[in-house]
Amino acid sequence: MADVNRGNRPLSPFMLGKYYRFQLNSVTSILTRITGNAMLVAALMIVWWLLAAATSAEYFALADYVLTSYLGDLVLFLSLWGMWYHLLAGVRHLIWDAAIGLDVPTATKLGYAVVGGSLFFTLFTVAII
């Protein structure tokens, strides 16, 4: 008999923070998801900027003003940091997918590398562009 308990199974609760203290691994994991999904904002801004550039000089002036304004700068800077973070965290996932570095000490080191590396690459990018 297959699955007599359909629809009435226990759900796994959201553990982070509420039942389980924050740790490097859990925080770097959820930040991967948050940064990845937050990239939508910067991506839509860039698409809009490109569309404005393809439309007219006046429309470009507006989009360019928004993207290079104080707020636009801040959003793009945070997105740059989020992008580097998500990229490095993605590399960590690719390493884990190869069944390498799954022990806790190595995972912790990789976690610090992702956080530190994202800061380093963000400042590096800002410095050269």
């Binding site: 999904n37 990239m39 991506a43 698409v47 490109l50 550039a53 360019d64």
Partner: protein
Amino acid sequence: MAFLTDRKRATGWGSAKKGTEHFWSMKVTSVALLVLIPLFMFNFGSILGADYDTVLAHYSRPYPAILAALTLIVGFKHFNLGFQVLIEDYVHGAWEKILIIGMTCLSYGAAAVGVFALAKLAL
């Protein structure tokens, strides 16, 4: 009337050879973006803030235009796959489907708008 047991019906069929497409697409696009994203960030970062004519000249060259188009296409595909998992994890019922379908429309739509804009700039 089937006299086969459930076990007998299942044995030998494996995993139906399906079910890993989502995971694999995520991996393929992530490896592609590992190359595309840094190149795009430096390329886009170098042109943002330039005047209109410089921007037009920039995107009429093949490398910036093709790089930006590829990044948008692969990036929005990867984004859409990731957003789907986010929703599947936290939202259930009708809203789960509405949000996934809505964001799929937005992802492909935004990628199409970006590619159209780039084509118009480049040609």
